[in-house]
């Protein structure tokens, strides 16, 4: 499979970002029904799913090159967006192995990996990288193994150490996040890390999810979708830069709401890593504007209904109150009240 990349896209300042028709149809729309509430919506991460975004172990799309450049920019501004605690060294190599082997197997046109014992050669054609190194010897790479490979992957990643029947977030590459800080959260337990999420604790969601993840097995990854709303196609909505992107929320008008307001979806994948027994948590971010989503009849109806009926505490947590009514006013005329099919697939073959 050969992808056409769009290397000149930007996720800040001029926001030169757009979706091809195919890219829109592969969007992992996050709502399987017309209402939303927190649940343990985890399922096995098998190859294939309701859209093409689920076809591979790690999904690569037309924004790959531009997203890697955006990541490099964020890291140049703030190197602490990538941190790994010292005891996670084995998990770093596990991550490198998993991502390199998966990308090379799933996208042979773009990536290749050859091994001669511990001497590995990695080729990343879209980014123009060829690197030979010794597996297990960090000094043979320009960055630590985790940083090295996640600089070449789309989406954020965190590393969870498993001990004392808990998961500790002990490392991460976090540059495209929905308002949480790695620098602040690193070292936290599963429940501490999710501390600010409303309602879900009381529903027992995190207790059950933790038990499930503690049993996660090597070779049997799982996935779930999460979502929020972001103004402008901005990847770096970190708490660190909240003073930079926060004011965007006041710029939404009834004229620009369709283009400015983006549904931000995270395809989250969780992998048990072999040597370290750690869990790699991939948080792959997808952005689609309300105007784009309105091109898909099922999705526009459903988005309208979900946002209309959303629990007020979830609205507040996701930062919606300033502009939610404008989004509803924009979408309401598209919602004819017709029933929608269960599941997230677009129900379209082409636009």
């Amino acid at each position: 499979m050969t992808l056409q990349f769009k290397p000149n896209e930007t996720f800040r300042s001029d926001f030169a970002y757009g979706k091809s028709d195919a890219d829109l149809l592969r969007f992992p729309f996050p709502f399987p029904e017309d209402a939303y509430m927190y649940s343990v919506n985890i399922e096995p991460h098998v190859r294939g799913g309701p859209t093409a975004a689920f076809a591979h172990v790690f999904d690569i799309d037309e924004h790959y090159v531009a997203e890697c450049r955006e990541r490099a920019l964020v890291l140049a501004e703030d190197p602490k967006r990538c941190q790994v605690l010292p005891h996670m060294e084995m998990a770093e190599w596990d991550t490198l192995e998993l991502i390199m082997e998966s990308l090379a197997a799933d996208y042979p046109d773009h990536f290749s990996l050859t091994k001669a014992g511990d001497l590995w050669t990695w080729v990343n054609r879209p980014l123009g990288i060829q690197q030979s190194f010794t597996f297990g010897e960090a000094h043979t790479l320009p960055y630590g193994p985790f940083e090295y490979i996640t600089r070449q992957a789309q989406g954020d990643f965190t590393l969870q150490d498993q001990r004392d029947d808990n998961l500790y977030v002990d490392g991460g590459m976090v540059t495209t996040q929905a308002d949480w800080s790695l620098e602040f959260n690193i070292g936290m337990t599963f429940h501490e890390w999710h501390g600010p999420v409303p309602l879900a604790h009381e529903k027992g969601v995190f207790d059950r999810a933790l038990k499930y993840l503690l049993r996660l097995q090597y070779g049997r990854p799982v996935r779930r979708l999460n979502w929020t709303i972001t103004i402008n196609p901005r990847l770096d909505t970190s708490p660190e830069n909240y003073p930079v992107w926060g004011p965007d929320r006041t710029t939404v008008t009834s004229e620009n709401v369709g283009e400015k307001v983006h549904l931000r979806v995270e395809l989250q994948t969780l992998f048990r890593l072999p040597r370290s027994n750690a869990i790699l948590f991939g948080i792959r971010c997808y952005l689609a504007s309300v105007a784009d989503l309105a091109r898909v009849p099922k999705w526009r109806r459903r988005l309208h209904r979900v946002l209309r009926d959303l629990h007020p505490e979830i609205q507040a947590y996701k930062g919606l109150p300033r502009y939610r009514q404008m989004v509803l006013d924009h979408l309401a005329p598209f919602d004819d009240g017709a029933p929608t099919s269960p599941g997230i697939q677009s129900d379209l073959d082409a636009l």
């Binding site: 620098e183 602040f184 501390g195 600010p196 708490p239």
Partner: protein, 195 residues
């Protein structure tokens, strides 16, 4: 207002001896264990106790016995922390640490114990004394200490920070987030709530 429902905020309990421990070290941010810090039946004689007297003149021949019942004074918390690092490097499995004091004191001890390889199962903390908070500015990473109000000016970047209940044990600090980031200038009045 003082409970934002955030689950990372630590919960504390009055100290009770952990019978599964083999030896017990009690660390007190002050000259004695306050009655709020422990159950009435807490057997202080089972612990080796370290206290902070906040005086430069410690007794000329301090008790250094590493044994239950011994009480060893320190000039300051920093003085105690440096001795603790040295002590933990020599300790064997089976130790339990109990600590009573301000949140700064407790979580600094947590950091030292963690460095020594102790897990939370080996620590017992009770928060007594000032409720003032250490605030980590999530934007500029400066720590502002002794914060008693719901909103505080960051001592590093000057931002008006809302004090969230989100707590990092590693930084031993609560998170501060600019309160008027979306609409600059819209700063609510600060209330004194962490006295």
């Amino acid at each position: 207002m003082t409970d934002q429902g955030i689950k990372s905020r630590p919960k504390y309990q009055r100290l009770a001896l952990d019978p599964s421990g083999r030896h017990h070290l009690l660390l007190i941010d002050g000259p004695a264990l306050s009655s709020e810090a422990a159950d009435a039946g807490f057997d202080i004689a089972a612990c080796e106790t370290w206290i902070v007297i906040r005086r430069s003149a410690v007794p000329p021949e301090p008790i250094l016995a590493e044994a239950p019942g011994a009480i060893r004074p320190f000039r300051s918390t920093a003085h105690l922390f440096s001795a603790l690092q040295d002590r933990l490097a020599r300790e064997t499995m089976g130790l339990r640490i109990y600590a009573a004091g301000t949140e700064d004191f407790l979580w600094d001890i947590h950091g030292i114990a963690d460095q020594a390889g102790m897990s939370r199962q080996e620590l017992r903390f009770c928060h007594v004394g000032s409720k003032a908070r250490r605030i980590f500015c999530v934007h500029c990473r400066t720590i502002t200490a002794g914060v008693k109000t719901s909103i505080v000016a960051c001592s590093g970047c000057g931002a008006s920070l809302f004090v969230r209940d989100h707590f990092s044990r590693r930084l031993a600090a609560f998170m501060g987030v600019q309160v008027d980031a979306e609409a600059p200038g819209e700063v609510p009045d600060a209330e004194e709530i962490y006295a």
